[in-house]
Amino acid sequence: MEDFFTIDMTYSNYHLIFPKIIIGILIAIGAVLLITNLMKRWKSGTLTHFRFKFFSDNYDKVKFYGTILLLIMYAVTMTWIGFVLSSILFMILITLLYIGNIRKKSIVISITNSLATTIVIWYVFGQLFDITLP
């Protein structure tokens, strides 16, 4: 950099110029955000009083972590047993998880929902439009 308003333009460094500026801006804004936040806290006398709550009150642990677990399992099993089987399995399990019980009716609903969706998607995407499926 020759001076503040001129940027050194070297061909081999073209790819670094813009990211550097963007990171600079991010740090600057981040710093301002941090300082204003700290000042606000200082004024209201709650500087050391951190109470950041990530989850909402009484969040549904089973459904939340269950969803994350099932999503990961879905992506992993897809490469092993293929799209159709993994989707059917995933949809049955996640529908049951969201209904929240394993009564006969829930099982019927989840299986119907799963089979119908998977077959329709498999047919429309895979067969009709010839789109690659896992």
């Binding site: 020759e2 308003f5 001129t6 940027i7 050194d8 333009m9 061909y11 081999s12 073209y14 790819h15 670094l16 110029i17 813009f18 990211p19 963007i22 801006i25 991010l26 804004i29 981040g30 301002v32 955000l33 204003t36 990530f54 989850f55 909402s56 969040y59 549904d60 459904k63 939340f64 269950g66 969803t67 994350i68 999503l71 879905y74 992506a75 897809m78 490469t79 799209f83 989707s87 995933f90 949809m91 996640i94 529908t95 969201y98 209904i99 929240g100 609903i109 929902n113 799963s114 969706t117 998977t118 998607i121 429309v124 995407f125 439009f129 010839d130 789109i131 690659t132 499926l133 896992p134």
Partner: protein, 501 residues
């Protein structure tokens, strides 16, 4: 008419399908037009551009319009843009005038849609003919302007909004810079997967659909408190007459105009259009005290404004290549998929596509009106589909879409899940998703024009101020929008404090 030859029968059929699915998704609370388009985007991969345009425009119009169903029947805006529809729509339902309210909303929607379409048709070619002479300096400044406007509508914190947008830009830069073919910022171990950075589509759907899914899961997938609605009750009172809309003609035009104008401003979302039109209708009304008690006037204002938004939002998209909101941001993705770059040259170099878009909008609006007006009773039932049916379907559709978008790449599915987690975490830590997304979409273009400008000037940054009157004009706009945002931010903070006291 050569105009009509542009659309194929398939594209009209797809437009029909798009409107239908759009209405269904818009009617389900929590699903938006944006999500509808994002989920269907992979399907367009197998279609011609003109056919996919029919589908996407149909989804857009249907999705925005469908939002009025739960807004009126359940007091839940189906999409953010039908926020003010609840104010007078729901009280009408409570009075037993649900069906009348729905039909008033639908009629106001189509009028708003056609109004903004006319503005789009005449104004977009003009704007792009001006923009065609822009050099990379002006193009870069337009992107900066778009980013400042996004920040100015950001909820809560102006700086937080800018931070989110810049963060989105940074993430978009991961990968290769095409000018000198060098990679940067790729995390170690992902050199192959991230050579070209994150794919747009999985990022989009992840942030919107999967993020929403995780948030609903956190809240336990609770069913909304639906009550039984009888559309049959109060037959005489419940009857819709076109005279109701005719009486409101000034209101309709004013609201549609406001909606179109607000749609043109990049980043100002649908809820702003609805709120502005509603408050203006109230200001001009002879009986403002009746607003909020089930007055058709307020309903008409909100609905004609939010459909007016569609044509408005397409103006900067098609003439400058700048997405006005998250929905048009996804439309850019659709064009990119087909290898078409949207910008000032778009209309002149793709005349067929341009008329295709216009006609698709006409068709979509008409289909929307016919579908909804005559079968609103059946659409009304959609709001009762439980979430445990909808969300699993959406997940599978998203996964298929992400996987298919680059012809079968598993990493795109992981991208989807990763950005799904981001979409869930971001709102909690104050990063605003729409700003992030628009930054992500515009980031690479911003870099290109920035570097191109500096190449011309040998690295001298003064080029951005000395490149003629247009550049100066753009700086005035940028400064204006920042100043406006600061004042507005200050005002809303003050009023919040007063409310708190």
């Amino acid at each position: 008419m050569p105009f009509l030859e542009v659309l194929t029968p398939l594209s009209i059929a797809l437009c029909f399908l798009g409107v239908f699915v759009g209405i269904v998704m818009g009617a389900i609370p929590g699903m938006t037009a944006t999500m509808a388009i994002a989920i269907f985007l992979p399907l367009t991969y197998a279609l011609d551009m003109i056919d996919s345009i029919g589908l996407l425009i149909g989804l857009y119009v249907g999705g925005i319009s469908g939002g009025l169903v739960p807004a009126i029947l359940l007091n839940i805006p189906g999409t953010p843009s039908s926020l003010c529809t609840t104010f007078d729509g729901y009280p009408m339902t409570q009075k037993g005038e649900g069906e009348k309210a729905l039909k008033i909303g639908i009629t106001a929607s189509i009028v708003g849609g056609f109004f903004s379409l006319t503005v789009l048709y005449f104004f977009a070619p003009f704007l792009s003919s001006v923009a065609i002479d822009f050099s990379s300096v002006e193009k870069f400044l337009i992107i900066v302007f778009a980013l400042t406007v996004i920040a100015s509508i950001s909820k809560g914190s102006l700086l937080g909004g800018i931070f989110s947008g810049v963060l989105g830009m940074l993430v978009s830069l991961i990968g290769t810079f095409m000018d000198n073919n060098q990679t940067r910022m790729i995390p170690p171990g992902f050199e192959d997967e991230l050579v070209y950075g994150f794919s747009l589509l999985p990022v989009l759907i992840g942030l919107f659909a999967i993020g929403q899914l995780l948030q609903e899961a956190e809240e336990g997938m609770k069913a909304a408190a639906h009550q039984k609605i009888d559309l049959q009750q109060g037959k005489e009172k419940n009857k819709f007459r076109f005279a109701i809309i005719l009486k409101q003609k000034v209101n309709v035009v004013r609201s549609a105009l406001l909606g179109t104008f607000i749609g043109m401003l990049p980043g100002v979302g649908g809820s702003a259009a609805s709120i502005t039109a509603y408050s203006q209708a109230k200001n001009f009304s002879k009986k403002p005290e009746k607003f909020g008690t089930g007055e058709p006037e307020g309903l008409v204002a909100s609905e004609s404004a939010n459909n007016g938004l569609i044509g408005g939002a397409l103006i900067p998209l098609l003439s400058l290549g700048i997405p006005g909101d998250s929905t048009t941001a996804i439309l850019i993705g659709a064009f990119l998929l087909q290898g078409i770059e949207v910008g000032p040259l778009f209309i002149t170099s793709n005349p067929d596509l341009w008329s295709g878009i216009v006609i698709a909008l006409v068709v979509a609006n008409i289909v929307m009106f016919i579908l909804m007006f005559f079968s609103i009773r059946y659409f009304a039932k959609i709001v009762f589909i439980p979430k445990y049916i909808i969300f699993p379907i959406i997940v599978v559709a998203c996964v298929v879409g992400s996987y298919a978008i680059n012809n079968g790449i598993m990493f795109d599915v992981w991208t989807l899940l990763l950005f799904g987690v981001f979409g869930y975490i971001f709102p909690k830590i104050g990063v605003q998703i729409p700003s992030f997304l628009i930054g992500f979409i515009l980031g690479m273009q911003a870099e290109k024009y920035f570097i191109d400008s500096l190449k011309g000037s040998g690295g001298d940054l003064a080029i951005f101020f000395t490149n003629g009157p247009v550049a100066i004009g753009l700086w005035v706009l940028i400064l204006g929008s920042v100043i406006y945002a600061i004042i507005d931010n200050f005002k809303s903070k003050n009023s919040n404090q007063q409310n708190a006291m």
